[in-house]
């Protein structure tokens, strides 16, 4: 794993703001800091997510499939409000 590049983070920052779903009292830099810190956390902790998966899936899946599972889980939890 690696962290996103500065350009990739900037693009995510811009896209996140366009969705207009952020705390009203946050300014641009607050949101950019959240993007940066969240990316660092994911980079540091994604190995723990992988380790938590059952061996059958973990050993047979590639990195993209594990990232997709992480993404789908996060999205499902957002939609469920949990």
């Amino acid at each position: 794993m690696a962290v996103l590049s500065a350009t990739e983070r900037a693009n995510l920052h811009a896209r996140f703001m366009r969705d207009s779903d952020f705390p009203d009292n946050n300014e641009k830099q607050d949101i950019r800091d959240a993007v940066d810190d969240g990316d660092v956390w994911m980079n540091s902790n994604f190995g723990q997510f992988t380790a938590a998966l059952p061996v059958a899936f973990r050993s047979a899946s590639n990195a993209d499939q594990r990232r997709k599972l992480f993404n789908d889980l996060a999205l499902a939890r957002k939609e469920a409000g949990v």
Binding site: A10, H13, A14, M17, R18, S20, D21, F22, D24, N25, N26, E27, K28, Q29, D30, I31
Partner: protein, 165 residues
């Protein structure tokens, strides 16, 4: 015309988009607005004829009214510039805008409220020497990549008024 008198006003529906990076039309509780992005500089142009009774001495004051899509804090940097289209002189294909004048304005404390801010232009080159009876174009840009533009999310331009200063 006397100081403070309105020379022109524009709503979102009057906007004429440039070829790229233009503000986009949106509505807010029926009111048409122009959405300006928080990360990319976007613009909209407006065209008009300077009223014949413009005195041409004290210049003009441009008032911008804008709301935030969701934000309740932060500043927006607005740039405004003019270009005059003089009789049998200026080519619509090539005439450039004069230098911009800018203002930094804190957004309203509620996202649906409209913040008013003004930018003044002295008569003459500052407003590209637009004279009474002359066609002009005005461009309104959010300087989103300016370090002083701190408001997250879209700025919604509601209206533009031009007064005699």
């Amino acid at each position: 015309m006397a100081s403070g008198d309105t020379l022109a006003y524009f709503t979102a529906a009057d906007g004429e988009p440039p070829a790229s990076d233009f503000a986009t039309l949106d509505s807010r509780n029926v009111t048409l607005v122009l959405d300006y992005d928080a990360a990319t500089d976007e613009s909209m142009e407006f065209g008009g004829v300077m009223p014949r009774n413009y005195a041409g001495t004290t210049g003009i004051t441009v008032t911008l009214g804008f709301a935030a899509t969701t934000a309740t804090t932060g500043n927006v940097v607005w740039n405004v510039a003019f270009k005059s289209i003089s009789d049998d002189a200026d080519d619509l294909d090539t005439k450039a805008f004069a230098a911009v004048n800018a203002v930094t304005k804190t957004t309203a404390t509620a996202s649906g409220e409209v913040a008013y801010t003004t930018i003044t232009f002295t008569d003459g080159a500052d407003m590209d020497s637009v004279t009474a009876g002359e066609y002009y174009r005005m461009i309104v840009t959010r300087d989103a990549n300016n370090g002083s533009d701190t408001m997250a999310g879209d700025a919604e331009l509601v209206f533009v008024e031009i007064q005699e200063t």
